[in-house]
């Protein structure tokens, strides 16, 4: 797998946190991948994106008293940590050292805003807010995969990876919807 492929592969991870940050700020999900970055910068963004999601799930675990929401957060920690480990291993094999950059800083700022919004919520309102965010987040990722990344991917290894990763996001979305529906409609 070439560095160019790594660049595109890691770019797939960008919408995860971009979508989350934008959703938290009331904006529409991104319609295209993030701006062009060097491979080390893309690697840093990917690692940051996963770390942000793990951190928010940890916060949710500490805040929620709902067993299903807590279990969902635990699964997000487990799965995103596993994906991050794969991305890190790939970067390591290719000799790429993650480099901090403006996109990573922007994602961190957006995540902080999302965290601030959720920190105001307690009890059932928090559970609904967190699960709303997770539904929108995973839907945005699937839209990006289906509408852009998989159809336009020309590298066989990259395409296979995208196709292999997609069911995990689909399962996360379905799981999130089930939990959210069980929480009721009103905040």
């Amino acid at each position: 797998m070439s560095r160019s492929t790594l660049h595109r592969l890691l770019s797939v991870l960008l919408p995860l946190t971009v979508a989350t940050a934008l959703h938290a700020q009331g904006s529409a999900p991104p319609a295209a991948p993030a701006p062009d970055l060097s491979d080390p910068e893309v690697a840093h963004v990917a690692v940051t994106a996963n770390a942000i999601d793990v951190d928010l799930a940890r916060f949710a675990q500490a805040r929620t008293r709902h067993a299903e929401v807590r279990q969902f957060a635990a699964t997000m920690i487990t799965d995103h940590t596993a994906v991050n480990a794969q991305a890190a291993a790939l970067a390591g094999r290719l000799g790429v050292t993650p480099a901090d950059n403006a996109v990573s800083q922007s994602l961190l700022a957006g995540a902080a805003d999302a965290r601030t919004g959720l920190e105001r919520l307690r009890g059932a309102a928090f559970d609904k807010g967190y699960m709303d965010r997770e539904v929108a987040y995973h839907q945005a990722v699937l839209d990006a995969l289906d509408g852009l990344l998989i159809p336009t991917s020309s590298n066989a290894d990259l395409r296979k990876l995208l196709v292999d990763v997609r069911p995990a996001f689909a399962a996360h979305l379905e799981h999130a919807k089930q939990i959210r529906n069980g929480l009721g409609s009103a905040r």
């Binding site: 699964t75 487990t78 596993a82 794969q86 292999d164 399962a171 799981h175």
Partner: protein, 108 residues
């Protein structure tokens, strides 16, 4: 001649009764096959091929013997775990990390 034929028949008969090994592949966030028919004493092996970890877990309904339930624990990519069913019946199971993943053993 008769002894030879009896030996063949006996061997075939014993082979039919011998415990078998079944493999359930975990791939693409699904158990494959999702429904598997086995005999008591057979070995069922779950192998996880996904990047994310999974379990194959049958809860313990009050109406079912505890020995009919199992939990593989978390299987990381490339890991496997096995279970030998001892009681006949149908046993539904899930991945506790991803409850939308469902499977069933039909134990004869």
């Amino acid at each position: 001649m008769i002894t030879t034929w009896l030996g063949i028949l006996l061997a075939v008969g014993l082979q039919g009764l011998a415990p078998r090994r079944h493999v359930v592949e975990i791939h693409g966030m699904a158990f494959r096959p999702a429904v598997l028919t086995v005999a008591r004493g057979d070995t069922v092996v779950w192998i996880n091929h996904d990047i994310v970890p999974h379990t194959a877990t049958a809860p313990v309904p009050a109406s079912i013997r505890a020995a009919a339930a199992w939990d593989t624990g978390q299987l990381m990519q490339g890991q496997n775990a096995s279970y030998v069913p001892r009681y006949a019946g149908e046993a539904s199971y899930i991945c506790t990390l991803h409850p939308t993943m469902r499977g069933k053993l039909i134990i004869q």
